[in-house]
Symmetry: C2
Subunit: 484 residues, 2 copies
């Protein structure tokens, strides 16, 4: 239902943003002027102000009405909260739904917070059932009840199905805008059937062939309808050997299939072989983008995507968990150093050198983990080769330990003129890089085995170990070999 | 030309991998047996061995011939080098080209290294010109010359065009498999024209409308051909207001357009308005995946994607630049500490606490940078709001500095029973988090301004500053307030 109007494409959405900002600025200037002039004598000025005010807003409204919903979503995300809400008010109510679907979670929250129950219900009702399901977690329960009542029985069924699958499953990516035909009809009949649509659903690169019980039989690419003679029968042309997804498959599994096989759409079939929906490439594209962004955010310890214009308080909260966790591991590392205070007192140079031992091993271990996580995600690490890969990482760690540890040892030797200190430095770096290789490989593997996502939290643990481990190894070796 | 055979899809490529591994293992066992038995008396055994040997290889060959090229590519990537080359030998020569296109750069290199000039030429000749251009950087010059000679004039032109665009431009994503029609013909004529193809090029969701000078006029979605009456004229149905890309646009720009507008294909038009090619969503999907992977690899300081079965030597090299860079910044930080040796000597507790000050600010600054880089990539940071966003990050830094610095101060106070130490700790954390917020925001902005990719290298610089800065601030404050 999102295709009520012809979408207007733009080559350069940032130009749109600049124009909107410009109009908003002019609008703000007029407002300031009319406020400043609120003296009785200034009636004339005020009137001019009010007219200008109206003109700029009308211009803005006009501009927005010509824009694609995805572009409006982009602009809303790029605006500070006051201006964002002003623009949101300018958008025609009948476009609210399609725009809410496009904006990021954080921005959606800020928009929904300003809408009445009635407005939300109307917005949701403009959407397809799979889109309502995407919006559902952000909508008040009362609104969802209203929306549910307004749906047909079939749509209620679809909404219930779409909402029943976990966020990272194929079911959550699925839509219901598919066309199905029987295998015993001719292309002629299919064409006549298709002509009854004003427009085919987006991303209809194939129609699905089902039997009378809705059981999936195969797909018929639209292109085959186009290149074949009308009297051919569907069954003789359809492709039965095609990829089918299951609603409870991992979404990631579907994404990999789309990438490997260059799909535009794929049927979703339940365990009884019934066709229940389809997944389209645009949804997969969004999924991949979101996943990869959340990987990068997770690596930096951000809980979720931030609305850059959210309040300081809100943003700070998004960063707490990670900082708190790191503070704990830093406290622990600090206590490890603390237990060698006697050694450091006798040999202060150790305090200057110890961060090097900890830091480089942490970097090296994170390289190992990144490779391990990536290979796990691709399923390249098997029972058979895990040991081999671990040995390889240990070899790289040992090699790098000798190389960079050697350089660090020379650095220590030339600074403090102690051969023993240089050797301890090199030895500690070597050992800590080996520790790093071991945990960098082992932690993701163990997390995967425990059914957890190795991409989340591995790096905190690994840095904690290479930090505390580095201090312990370096100061421990120093206590043994330098202090006596 | 990649569609010589019907691709076989698989739900579970890892199962394929397991089966291949199993066959390879059996094959290896037989080999071992026949080697062990190389005594004259063991002729019979050896013969049995040879037969088994042949049977397993035949089975493997059979298995591979039924597999989709993308799945074979997946398996090649997941195999150690000896087994990989054995499997590569088993693959029919006429499929070499399409598989080389699918494998990762690192694995492609390992495969190409074993192929003769003749084999490479044949592999390349199976491909479309845009695919040959993708392969070109990995092929020896002599092979490229041979390939070039074998092409038609039009194809040479295409290959030259495809190779002339930088890797991150639309031109590099473009292919030439498009269908164009004139605007004055009827759908009937278009359909008759399309029926002359056995099969339309992949991802043909629309045909392109051009005038007699090949100037782009609009697009005609296949779906509109299907739902409209045959006597309608192309010009009356085509969409003129559609997105067009330019060959020298940034590839990222095209990817964003595909995401925003849910495209399957888009025309590429040169500055004279001539249609030169098209970009399809499968290429965009690969581009987005590769980009996001290289982001994650860059963050961990890996120069490029690694073949997990590459030699230790090769892998170690991939990790050097980063480790060397970090060693330099660690040396610098070490010298900062070194300049406070006198202070540490008098107050060893400082040595135990200083990593906390450096570490937490580093984490916080990297959160800021991640948000800044993301917003820059989306074009959300403008001249107008950069200052505002910087102030916000400083506020978050200040807030977090007081909160976590306060906790760290209490930690220091309770451990060492010195109020002054606690205050210095809190003050140093606060200041260093502010420094982190400042550089975390400023460095990506400056890099962007200088025309460099802010995602590369920002985090090394920032960690260097928060480390050295943290040591300097903490030990400096301690020298002023604790030692006298």
């Amino acid at each position: 239902m999102t295709e009520n109007h012809e979408p207007r494409y733009t080559e350069n959405v940032q130009e749109h943003l600049q124009q909107v900002l410009h109009l908003l600025e002019k609008h703000a200037q007029v407002e300031t002027v009319s406020h400043q002039q609120e003296l009785p004598r200034a009636d004339h000025h005020e009137m001019v102000g009010a007219v200008l005010h109206k003109r700029h807003l009308a211009e803005l409204r006009e501009k927005l009405s010509g824009m694609h919903p995805a572009d409006i979503a982009y602009i809303l995300e790029a605006l500070p909260i006051e201006q964002r809400l002003l623009v949101w008010d300018m958008v025609k109510a009948e476009r609210d739904g399609e725009i809410l679907i496009e904006v990021s979670d954080a921005v959606r929250e800020s928009l929904i917070a300003t809408m009445s129950r009635e407005e939300l219900r109307e917005a949701a009702e403009q959407l397809d059932t799979d889109e309502i399901a995407d919006l559902a977690p952000d909508l008040p329960q009362a609104v969802m009840r209203d929306v549910f009542k307004s749906l047909s029985i079939e749509e209620r069924e679809q909404l219930r199905a779409a909402m029943s699958y976990p966020e990272d499953s194929v079911g959550a990516l699925m839509d219901f805008n598919m066309i199905h035909v029987r295998e015993d009809i001719t292309l002629e009949v299919v064409s006549r059937y298709l002509r009854r649509f004003d427009e085919l659903p987006d991303h209809t690169d194939q129609v699905f062939v089902v039997d009378r019980d809705d059981r999936f039989k195969g797909v018929l690419p639209i292109n085959l309808i186009v290149v074949n003679e009308p009297e051919k029968v569907v069954g003789s042309l359809m492709l039965a050997d095609t990829i089918t997804l299951r609603p409870d498959d991992k979404a990631d599994h579907a994404a990999q299939a789309f990438e490997r096989y260059d799909l535009v759409s794929a049927p979703v079939v339940d365990e009884d072989g019934k066709l229940v929906g389809r997944v389209t490439v645009n949804v997969v594209l969004d999924f991949i983008r979101t996943e990869s962004e959340s990987d990068v955010l997770n690596l930096a310890g951000l809980r979720e995507e931030e609305d850059i214009f959210a309040s300081v308080w809100k943003s700070a909260q998004n960063r707490w968990t990670w900082l708190a966790l790191n503070l704990c591991t830093a406290f622990f590392a600090s206590r490890v150093i603390g237990s060698f205070e006697g050694t450091i007192e006798k040999y202060v140079a150790l305090a200057t050198l110890m961060p090097i031992v900890a830091g480089i091993a942490g970097n090296s271990a994170n390289q190992t983990t990144t490779i391990a996580i990536r290979s796990l995600a691709l399923g390249q690490i098997t029972q058979g080769n895990a040991r081999r890969l671990l040995l390889k990482e240990l070899a790289i760690g040992g090699f790098n330990g000798l190389l960079w540890g050697g350089i660090a040892g020379l650095f220590a030797y030339f600074l403090y003129h102690s051969l023993a200190l240089g050797v301890v430095m090199t030895g500690a770096m070597l050992l800590n890089l080996l520790v790093g290789a071991l945990v960098g490989m082992a932690i993701p593997l163990v997390m995967q085995k425990m059914g957890r996502d190795p991409a989340i939290g591995s790096s905190v643990m690994i840095t904690a170990i290479t930090d505390s481990g580095g201090f312990f190894i370096f100061l421990g070796l120093a206590t043994i070999f330098l202090i006596n």
